[in-house]
């Protein structure tokens, strides 16, 4: 029995403590993790893709309604949030870069925390926007009221898509913020080095993907029909 344990503990070579036994090298391990994340992102494209598909069908069916219904969204707030999210992608790229260089824990934490702050600002603005929709009776359902009775029924389709798409996007951001907090804690403990930083790298891909979705949501939801 003890011979088996001895054989498992000492299998003839030295390796990095983060290298799992089924991988040959840290490089191969990073490649496998990165590939796994990209496969996950493929499923994410199709997750959001279903809602985008619904958007395409209804926009073709009710083009005029989309122009009127979207005019109640605030373009300044949407533009501000787009800028905030692009900024958070930059800080995320710097966080990954800091981990890759094996920078001091303090620097890694600053970039991860900065990304969280920008994410929180985005979600805060989102709350303001949702509150505005609630007070103006623009939540689909029995209390929905649209100023132009011609669009009373169909404008609910637009707002259903609005809440589903931005809600799914915001829930991705909340998940991302939780993971960022965990990574910041681990970075503070000095766990990420130039040899091993896989979680930060993977999180970077996720965060940039969430940015990517918003890049399409912003013009498709906010910028329809232009100024009135």
């Amino acid at each position: 029995m003890s011979e088996v344990h001895a054989a498992l503990a000492d299998h003839g070579h030295e390796h990095h403590p983060r290298l799992q036994h089924h991988f040959d090298s840290l490089e191969q391990q990073l490649y496998a993790s990165t590939f796994g994340m990209w496969v996950f992102l493929v499923t994410e494209v199709l997750f959001f893709g279903g809602l985008f598909m619904a958007y395409i069908v209804y926009r073709i069916w009710y083009p005029d309604m989309f122009v009127h219904a979207s005019s109640h969204l605030s373009v300044p707030l949407g533009t501000f949030n787009t800028a905030v999210l692009i900024g958070s992608s930059l800080t995320m790229a710097y966080a990954v870069n800091a981990a890759q260089r094996g920078a001091r824990p303090r620097e890694q934490v600053i970039w991860l925390f900065g990304t969280m702050v920008l994410g929180a600002i985005f979600l805060g603005v989102k709350v303001i926007e949702y509150m505005d929709k609630i007070t103006h009776h623009l939540v689909p359902g029995p209390n929905f009221h649209f100023e132009d009775p011609a669009y009373q029924a169909t404008a609910q389709i637009y707002y259903s898509l609005y809440f589903a798409l931005t809600g799914l996007h915001a829930s991705h951001m909340i998940v991302g913020m939780v993971i960022l907090a965990i990574l910041a804690y681990k970075a503070a403990k000095g766990q990420f080095t130039a040899e091993w930083y896989t979680p930060v790298e993977i999180m970077g891909l996720y965060w940039h993907f969430v940015d990517l979705v918003w890049i399409f949501l912003f013009p498709l939801l906010y910028l329809i029909g232009g100024a009135h």
Binding site: E27, Q28, L30, Y31, T34, F35, W38, V39, L41, V42, V45, L46, G49, G50, F52, M53, I56, V57, I60, W61, Y62, P63, D64, V75, T79, T82, A83, I86, G87, S89, L90, M92, A93, Y94, V96, N97, Q100, R101, G204, L205, H208, F209, D211, L212, I215, F216, F218, P219, L220, L223, G225, G226, A227
Partner: protein, 109 residues
């Protein structure tokens, strides 16, 4: 093998500036009435921004072919979804897309 892909911080900053400019342009273009051209223009700018994020922030340009083909497959699947769904929805009686001379593409009431 993928290996460690370490980006240049100045390149990241340039990409960030390009994305901000793209955002400003897409908002500005909305206030110019170009008719049916507004939507394809907005989508073209969004796609350009998306490509910048994917290639530089996510480093897809530096990744091996396996990862490039895998991610490209996502958009291939999405294209199948759109093509097959629209072939149904656009051919339905009472809801097909019809062209009226005055207003362009509108839905049947």
């Amino acid at each position: 093998m993928s290996g460690h892909i370490i980006g240049n911080r100045f390149t990241y900053f340039l990409v960030f500036i390009a994305l901000m400019v793209g955002t400003a342009v897409t908002v500005a273009v909305t206030y110019i009435h170009l008719g049916w051209l507004n939507l394809p223009l907005a989508l073209a700018i969004a796609t350009t921004k998306a490509v910048l994020v994917i290639m530089f922030f996510m480093h897809l340009k530096d990744h091996p072919k396996l990862i490039k083909v895998t991610f490209a497959a996502a958009f291939f699947f999405f294209a199948i979804l759109v093509a097959h769904t629209l072939s149904d929805y656009l051919s339905r009686e009472g809801h097909g897309m019809q062209t009226y001379p005055a207003s362009g593409l509108v839905a049947n009431p």
